[in-house]
């Protein structure tokens, strides 16, 4: 009822107006009939009825939903006011949007990487079995998720009692397709119970069962993820012909997993799953599987851990890696434990834990800054509006109504800020995931809008607005209108006390900005250090080619000869300046360590002649390897200066010998040192320069049907790659070929530093800008309020410079106090960032000074404008105006 009236309230208003007129007419006529004069009759009628407009208003109120109407009015008024000061609106809304958006985006990422449960039924039941304290990098550790070896997994499965279902899985890349057009796919190998234990139903076909893992390697069945099925198999229904060639072996696709299931590694979505298979010989030293399961009803994690610990001695005795004599005792002392795994596993978690929390802290500070800024702007406006409030009170507005209107303004600001903030969050989330990804490691995360965080951020902003904007203005309504009007109009100098809160807020802003700016400078400089660090070897123009020649059917004793032949072919490609094989690509994480002498150890790399030339590493002494260093010639080595110092005791190295300690397949060997190279970085740009030994590739005990080549070319990477690919494909079309650009891989390894530099730099600049805007606002406001006083000073002969100086001194004080507090805060909280910095101290004085200087420049600019305005004041105008 009320709603139909609500929309017809204008019609009813006219209706009632006519009706009231009729009433007046009738009354007037009756009065005249009683003998009154016409004029008098009309007046009497009017007196009796009262004010028709008031009656109409009352009826109008019955019809309308008053709160809705006034809300609409307040909002309209708010929009008009914001339109009147677009600068204020722009700064307030932009800073709110960025603050809210940044917080939401980073929290969403943190949530996706760290906190969210896996999309499977009852994820909280999932438990992972790990060696307590990890395996101390023993043996071979191929992936980020490997915790146990397959023999250990078999033993656990046989002896455990804690789990109602238990499964193992291993992560790795496979190559799919024909040799000429290979595509890398991220794959998991799983035990037969994997999907059943996780409770993942098939989307198409069937998923694996325990009997699928009994076949000999390689596995001939595969299950693909929904997105792989959609993208590479066009979502066609599966039949006997649904085949893929996985690592060269024909494989039947028997099923598709449901959309949303990405495996157990957050950020590393699997594309292809294959069942475990039975290898000819089960290796005891490869830690590549992760074992997980669901506990039996009534079992807790501590109870499961106790049970696992009890069966550990038997398990580790049965699976001992007997070849590692030194480590065997340690291995047998390993203990298993149970750990919650409801949110899966993720290498992102270890790599990005500190950065993400740090970024969350940074974005929290940015939100704080945005709120402080808003508070400052609102307060400046609130005092400026005291007069407006007074006038409106004097005209009869109720205080409640004024308060409601101030609330509406806040609501409007925060609502627009929040809406933009949500958009910023979506955008930033995407940028973040993109920034985490590299060509070689694409990160796929389902980032969901987290409404709780958004609500929190918006709530903080709204509260700030109300506390600092509406409340002071409302307090102003309590003073008698006449006083307020007088003070605002005829004020002389306003007392210092009035601005103390605003000054304090500026100090807070400067301090927080300093913290953010120092952080930003440190991260940017750290990134730069990493980009320009001298690794001791050539990075530009280097390509890495991996060639697999298993299909070429070369006999084992001719592997080395075949590698040499391939190298010659590569060197014949136009533009190629040098090429050599290596067993370990430097700077990209690979590690090959062997014991030397009684206690020493050194990195070992087997390289072909020409490696040092290709990598731009000069020989300081002695000779490079050559064709005379063969499998049967005496073992020789080229070592770096660290090796000479640490292993050989600094003596003249050429002609000295060093003996390696035995390892599986690597018998103890006596090497004669024939050359010395300078120290270079080893497997990480951020790392040390350890002792290194290089030995001839021809003497490598484990030559396989593949070659990893470092290639130096003066041509463009793309043309070098096609050139080499074409040459190899012409003579050996069966060879698997992969080519990557060294420098690009190195850059990909700096993603974390890049991300920190990018985001902290952006937020730091934003913070400095906000501080500048805040200072500008407050100083201009103070100048405006002191116009009278300044006018008098100018009239009494103050020079322009003196007035500017007076205003600038005011700003300088605020800046100095803010900088001091900021510096102290940085010294207290900055340590967290330390672990993420490369060749930089957290308390780096240069960065601190730089940040302070930048803030000082911004502050000077921000206060110079209002100061100049003050000094140009015409005293006559200033004095007459008030």
């Amino acid at each position: 009822m009320a709603w139909t009236r609500f929309f017809r309230r204008r019609f009813w208003d006219e209706e009632r107006a006519r009706e009231l007129q009729t009433h007046l007419d009738i009354e007037t006529a009756e009065n005249m009939a009683r003998g009154m004069a016409p004029e008098e009759a009309r007046h009497a009628a009017h007196r009796k009825l009262g004010n028709p407009t008031l009656i109409r208003e009352e009826i109008y109120r019955i019809n309308s939903l008053v709160w809705l109407e006034t809300l609409a009015q307040d909002l309209r008024h708010g929009v008009r006011l914001l339109g009147l000061s677009p600068g204020f609106a722009l700064v307030a809304i932009t800073s709110l949007a960025l603050g809210i958006g940044a917080n939401a985006a980073i929290f969403q990422l943190l949530d996706a990487v760290r906190l969210r449960n896996l999309p499977i039924p009852n994820p909280q039941e999932l438990v992972e079995v790990k060696i307590v304290g990890g395996n101390r990098r023993m043996g071979v550790n191929p992936g980020p998720y490997g915790q146990l070896t397959r023999p250990i997994w078999r033993e656990i499965r046989e002896h455990q009692e804690a789990f109602s279902s238990l499964f193992a899985w291993a992560w790795g890349n496979v190559r799919v397709g024909q040799p000429t057009e290979l595509r890398r796919a991220s794959a998991i190998q799983v035990s037969g119970d994997f999907f059943r234990a996780l409770g993942v139903p098939p989307w198409r076909g069937r998923l694996f069962l325990p009997e699928d893992e009994v076949g000999a390697c390689p596995a001939s069945k595969a299950v693909v993820s929904y997105s792989y099925w959609q993208y590479y198999m066009s979502g066609r229904d599966l039949d006997g012909d649904s085949k893929l060639i996985v690592n060269g072996a024909p494989t039947e696709v028997i099923g598709v997993t449901p959309p949303g299931f990405f495996g157990l590694a957050v950020g590393d979505n699997f594309e292809i799953a294959q069942p475990f298979c039975q290898p000819k010989e089960l290796r005891h030293d490869v830690f590549d599987v992760s074992v997980m399961g669901r506990l039996r009803p009534g079992w807790t994690i501590p109870r499961a851990s106790a049970e696992l610990e009890a069966i550990s001695p038997g398990i580790f005795a049965a699976t001992a890696i007997t070849e590692f004599a030194d480590a065997l005792e340690m291995y047998k002392r390993f203990r298993l434990g149970a750990y919650p795994a409801s949110s899966g596993v993720s290498w992102l978690r270890t790599a990005y834990d500190t950065p993400l929390w740090l970024l969350l802290a940074i974005s929290g500070l940015v939100l704080l800054l945005a709120c402080v800024n808003l508070a400052n702007l609102m307060m400046a406006r609130a005092s400026a509006r005291e007069r407006e409030m007074a006038v409106r009170l004097a005209l009869g507005a109720s205080r409640l109504r004024l308060f409601r209107q101030l609330l509406a303004e806040c609501g409007l600001l925060t609502a627009i800020g929040a809406a933009l903030g949500i958009a910023v969050a979506q955008l930033l989330s995407r940028v973040l995931v993109w920034a985490l990804s590299t060509e070689s490691m694409s990160v796929k995360l389902r980032v969901e809008t987290n409404w709780r965080v958004l609500l929190f951020a918006v709530g903080v902003a709204a509260l700030t607005c109300v506390l600092f904007g509406a409340a002071p203005a409302f307090r102003a309504t309590r003073t008698e209108p006449i006083t307020a009007m007088n003070v605002a109009g005829r004020g002389l100098t306003t007392g210092r006390g009035r601005f103390s809160l605003q000054r304090m807020l500026i100090v807070v802003q400067v301090a927080v900005s300093l913290v953010l700016l120092v952080g930003a400078l440190l991260f940017v400089r750290s990134f730069r250090n990493l980009m320009t660090v001298d690794s001791g070897m050539r990075q530009a123009g280097i390509g890495i080619a991996v060639m697999g020649f298993e299909q070429s059917h070369v006999s084992r004793d001719r592997f080395e000869e075949f590698q040499r032949q391939l190298l010659d072919e590569v060197r014949s490609v136009p533009g190629v300046l040098g090429a050599a094989t290596t067993t370990n690509v430097p700077l990209l994480g690979g590690l090959w360590n062997m014991g030397v002498g009684a206690h020493g150890s050194s990195m070992f790399t087997w390289v072909s002649p020409g490696y040092f030339d290709t990598m731009g590493i000069p020989l300081l002494m002695g000779r490079d390897f050559n064709a005379n260093d063969t499998r049967t010639s005496p073992p020789v080595a080229i070592v770096n200066q660290a090796f000479v110092r640490d292993v050989l005791g600094g003596a003249d190295p050429i002609g000295k010998t060093a003996r390696t300690r035995a390892e599986p397949n690597y018998p103890s060997t006596l090497y004669e040192i024939v050359g010395v190279i300078p120290d270079t970085k080893y497997n990480d740009l951020r790392g040390e320069r350890p002792a290194m030994a290089f030995v001839p590739a021809s003497q490598f005990p484990e030559l396989g049907p593949w070659a990893v080549m470092m290639i130096h070319s003066k041509a463009e990477p793309a043309s070098t790659m096609t050139g080499i690919r074409r040459t190899i494909a012409k003579s050996h079309p069966e060879i698997l070929f992969e080519y990557q650009v060294f420098q690009k891989l190195l850059r990909d390894g700096m993603v974390r530093e890049r991300l920190m530099a990018m985001l902290s730099g952006f937020f730091g600049l934003l913070a400095a800008l906000l501080a500048g805007v805040g200072l500008y606002g407050v100083i201009s406001y103070i100048v405006a309020r002191r116009r009278n006083e300044i006018g008098i000073r100018v009239a009494l002969g103050a020079q322009q410079g003196q007035v500017v100086g007076m205003v600038m001194r005011e700003a300088a004080w605020l800046l100095v106090i803010g900088l001091v507090i900021g510096t102290v805060s940085w010294l207290m909280v900055g340590r967290t960032a330390g672990s993420l910095l490369f060749e930089l101290n957290v308390h780096d004085p240069l960065s601190l000074a730089g940040a302070a200087a930048l803030l000082a420049v911004i502050a000077a600019l921000a206060s110079l404008l209002p100061a100049r305005r003050a000094s140009n004041l015409d005293p006559m105008v200033a004095l007459r105006l008030d």
């Binding site: 009822m1 009706e19 009729t22 009738i26 009796k48 009825l49 008031l54 009656i55 009826i59």
Partner: protein
């Protein structure tokens, strides 16, 4: 008597007046005044909002008609729900009056 009650009383008086037949605002006011022997003075200012409210609730309906001295006027008429409302309110009023009387003039006096 508080405002709410007064308003309720005015509603009751209007409904009772309309029970006699359709009437326009001015007539309603004069009828109430005449029948109360000029004791109850209807404030014309509150008459029209009251009529509007009653119409809003569906107890009266209105139409434009011609008054006794040939003027266009808005007439009000009781609707069936209005008639039921009048009965309930009238008996409630009687109860209240009796109750107040019992308080003012106790039987023992």
């Amino acid at each position: 008597l508080d405002g709410e009650m007064l308003q309720g009383t005015l509603d009751l008086l209007i409904l009772q007046t309309l029970a006699l037949g359709p009437a326009h605002g001015h007539t309603i006011a004069s009828v109430i005044e005449r029948r109360s022997e000029e004791v109850l003075q209807v404030e014309h200012g509150s008459l029209y909002p009251a009529l509007h409210r009653l119409e809003d609730r569906g107890w009266v309906s209105s139409f434009w008609g011609t008054s006794e001295n040939n003027r266009k006027a808005r007439f009000y008429r009781l609707t069936p729900p209005g008639r039921r409302q009048l009965a309930t309110r009238a008996s409630r009023w009687d109860e209240i009056v009796r109750a107040i009387n019992r308080v003012l003039r106790p039987a023992g006096e």
